[in-house]
Symmetry: none
Subunit: 417 residues, 2 copies
C-alpha cells in the first residue's frame, strides 16, 4: 500500500472560517492512481505545529502533501520551516523570478514589490513544481522514506498543480496498486435494514474488498472498494459483487453514484448527439444555468437561460399566458410546462428545463404552500412536469431542486439519446 | 489556553467522497466559547487508526471530539474502540432503547431490528449526550487530563448535539479565555502590497494579537484575532487596531467580512430604497443571478436575468445590434454596455449588471484573448463598463468576475443611494 497524508497549514480551517475542500480534491486525485490517503491533518501556521506535523509523518507515510503557507506575507512560513526540517537553506531561483514578474506584468493591478520577488527564494534541494496561475511555486523534497510535497493553499492554483504535475510525478515515482470503488445509491430503507439483508454478503466478502454504509437524508449509499494488482480481475470480482447486491436489494437501488459531475455527463451526451439546451428558472435563480455553463465547452450545446424571477418577466419575456397564471398561479405544473416549452422555442433549443416554486422562507406571488416546487423537462417530443416538496429551508430547496432537475434531464437524455 | 482536537472517523473524507463540513461547524462553535481547535484529523474507521489517534491525543489536548462510527452497521466501531481505550465494557441503557424505539415508531418506514436495538449499548462509564434526531447517542468520557466526546457523523444530528449539549457542557467544565476576531475585506490590491503598507503596524502589534492575510479571487481578507481574560479591554484594543487599519489602508477596505454576504448587503440597500435589479450574463452563466436570488426576500427587488450564452440569444432575446457585435465582437465593452442597457429596459429594472468575455479554456464566438472579460453596471443615470483579465483558468474567471460584478454594483449603490 502506498500511503499518503495531507497536511493543511493555516488557521482559517481551524477556526471554521473556511471549509477544507482542498483535501477532498487531492484525495480523489490520489486514489485514482492507487494512492491511499490515510490521514488528513489541519494545523495552525505556527512554526512548532508545522515542524511537529512533519516530524510525526516522517517514515510513516510514503507521501506527505502540505498545502498553504507559501504566500508573500509574514504569516506564510512553510518554506522556512521546510528549510529547518530538511536542514536546507533558501536560494534565489531566476526562472521563478521571471515567472513572477511575468504574472505581475500581465495580471496585477499593482506593481511588483520585494515581497513578491522574495517568492523566488526556494529551498536549495527542492524540486520545483510549476504554478501556472500564481506566484508561489510548489516544491518536492525527500527525507528518509517519505516524499514531502508543498503546494499553495489557493484552490485553483493547487488543483492545477495536482493535475498537471503532482499526479504524473507520483505515478512515475511509485508502483501503486489498483484501487477501485463503486458506490450504489439506495433510497427508502434505513441502513440497519439493509445491513440485515446484507449479513451473509458481508461475511463472504473477500478480504481485499470493503463495504461501507453512508446514510444521508433518506438515502443510503453503499460503497464497495477493493485493492489489488490485477485490474481486470478486480473489475470482474467487483461487478460480480455489484450484481449480487442488485439481486439482494433489487428495487431500492437507484443506480451508481457517478464520479463526474452530472452537468459534465449531460454535456457529453448533448455535445455527442449535437443537441442543445436552454433553461427557464424561477426560484432556482440561474443556478441550473450556472452549473451547466461551468463545464468547459458548454457553449457548444448551451443556449442560455431566462431567469424569470418576477411574475411580470414570466409574462413579458417568457410570453406566458396571463390567464394560465391567474388560473393555476405561478407555482403550478401548468406554468412550469409552459415556461419550458416557451424557453425552448425562444432560445431555439432541443431540450429545456424549467423551475417554479415557493422556495421559502416566505411566499412569493403565489398562495401555494412554502416548499411546493415544480420542475419541467421539455424534450424534442414531449414535456413532463414533476412536483416536489422538500420542506421550508430555502437553501436546501434550491440546491436539492437544482440536483433534481439535472438528474431528471440526465435520465431523459439516457432514455432518448 | 483550552485546546481541542477534532477527529473525524470514516473513509468517506479520506477518499474525497464528502467534504468535511462537520469540523468547520464544531470549530466555529468552540471558538465562540473561547476554546481553540489546534488540530483537525481525519482517519479511517479501522480499529488501529482510531486507537492510535486517541492515544496520541491523550493529555495533549483538553478536549477531543470525535465524529462518526456510531451507526448500527459493521463498519461502525467507535464504541467498541472507546471501550478498549477506556478499559470499559458496553452495557445496555434502557432510556436510550426507549428513545430508539420511539424514533422508529414516529419516523421510520421500516420496522426496528436487533441492530437498531444494539445502539442502546454504551460504555458503562460514559456520560450520554442526547441525540434528539437520531438513534446514535453521543458520549463523554474522561481519561488523564483529556475529556473525550464522541458524536455521530450525520451533520444535522451532530450540529444539534453540539449546540444544545456539548457547548453548555464545555462552558461549565472549562474556564475559557475570551477569543475575539474581526475580519476586514479589502479589494483591488494584492496581499504583498498590503503587507508592505502594514509593516510597521505588524511590528508593534501586541503579543496576544495576530494578523492573518487571506487572499482569494481578487480580495484579501485581513483577520485580526486576540485572546485574553478581559473582554472589554480586548474589544477596545481590537477597535483601536481596526481604526488604525482604516487609517493606513483607507479606501481599499470594503468593510467587515460580515456574517452577511455582499449579495445580502446589496439586497438590503435595494429593498430599502425600493429599487430593482436585473442581470444579463454571458460567461458567468447565471451565477450572478443565482447569488442575488439566494437571498431570502430577493423577489422584492430582483426581476430576473437573461443568460445569453449563445451569440444568437444575445441578438434575439437581448435585442443587441448585430452591427455592434460584428464591429466590436461579442467580447467588448460596447456589447457589455448594450447588454446591461437592454436587459434594464426589457425587465424594467432600475439597475442592471452584464458580463461578456472569453472565460476559457478555449475561445468562444470572439477572436479576443482568452481571459478578456467585460462587466457593465447600468444605474438609473449612467452606464459604466470595466475590463478585466484574470488569466485563462475558467473556474477562476467565472468566480472572480461574479465577485467583482457584485462589488462594482455595491459601490454604485453606496454612492447613489
Amino acid at each position: 500500500m502506498i500511503s499518503a497524508k495531507i497536511i493543511t497549514i493555516g488557521d482559517e480551517i481551524l477556526i471554521g472560517q473556511i471549509v477544507d475542500t482542498n483535501s477532498t480534491f487531492i484525495s480523489k486525485q490520489l486514489i485514482n492512481i492507487g494512492i491511499e490517503v490515510s490521514e488528513i491533518l489541519s494545523i495552525s501556521d505556527e512554526k512548532e505545529s508545522i515542524l511537529n506535523a512533519l516530524n510525526n509523518s516522517l517514515n510513516k507515510f510514503d507521501i506527505v502533501i502540505t498545502t498553504g503557507g507559501l504566500g508573500p506575507t509574514n504569516d506564510d512560513i512553510t518554506k522556512e520551516v521546510f528549510c529547518e526540517f530538511f536542514n536546507d537553506k533558501l536560494v534565489h531561483n531566476q526562472d521563478l523570478l521571471l515567472h513572477i514578474e511575468n504574472l505581475f506584468k500581465k495580471f496585477a493591478n499593482n506593481p511588483i514589490n520585494d515581497l513578491n520577488r522574495a517568492q523566488s527564494l526556494v529551498p536549495s534541494q527542492s524540486k520545483l513544481i510549476e504554478n501556472k496561475f500564481g506566484t508561489a511555486a510548489g516544491m518536492a523534497m525527500k527525507k528518509g522514506n517519505t516524499l514531502f510535497i508543498s503546494l499553495p493553499g489557493v484552490p485553483y492554483e493547487m488543483k492545477s498543480m495536482i493535475t498537471s504535475s503532482v499526479v504524473p510525478l507520483l505515478s512515475k515515482e511509485f508502483k501503486c496498486p489498483v484501487i477501485l470503488k463503486k458506490t450504489l445509491m439506495t433510497y427508502g430503507v434505513g441502513e440497519s435494514t439493509i445491513a440485515k439483508q446484507l449479513k451473509v454478503f458481508e461475511e463472504k466478502l473477500a478480504a481485499n474488498f470493503k463495504l461501507a454504509y453512508l446514510p444521508n437524508l433518506g438515502r443510503v449509499r453503499l460503497r464497495i472498494s477493493c485493492k489489488g494488482s490485477d485490474r481486470q480481475q478486480l473489475e470482474n470480482q467487483l461487478d460480480l459483487y455489484i450484481s449480487e447486491l442488485y439481486n439482494i436489494l433489487g428495487k431500492i437501488i437507484i443506480g451508481f453514484e457517478s464520479v463526474n459531475s452530472i452537468e459534465s455527463e449531460i454535456g457529453k451526451i448533448l455535445a455527442k448527439s449535437n443537441k442543445t439546451l436552454s433553461t427557464a428558472e424561477s426560484f432556482t435563480g440561474g443556478l441550473i444555468s450556472s452549473r451547466i455553463s461551468s463545464v468547459p465547452g458548454a457553449s457548444a450545446y448551451f443556449k442560455g437561460s431566462v431567469v424569470a424571477y418576477d411574475t411580470l418577466v414570466k409574462k413579458d419575456l417568457l410570453k406566458l399566458d396571463a390567464s394560465l397564471i391567474n388560473h393555476y398561479s405561478v407555482v403550478s405544473s401548468q406554468v412550469a410546462n409552459e415556461m419550458a416549452n416557451n424557453v425552448k422555442k425562444l432560445l431555439n433549443s432541443d431540450y429545456a428545463i424549467s423551475t417554479t416554486g415557493n422556495a421559502g422562507p416566505s411566499k412569493g406571488d403565489s398562495k401555494k404552500d412554502v416548499g411546493l416546487l415544480y420542475i419541467s423537462i421539455a424534450t424534442p417530443n414531449e414535456i413532463k412536469s414533476y412536483e416536489f416538496n422538500f420542506g421550508n429551508n430555502r437553501e436546501k430547496n434550491i440546491k436539492k431542486s437544482v440536483n433534481k432537475a439535472l438528474e431528471l434531464l440526465f435520465n431523459e437524455l439516457l432514455n432518448e439519446l
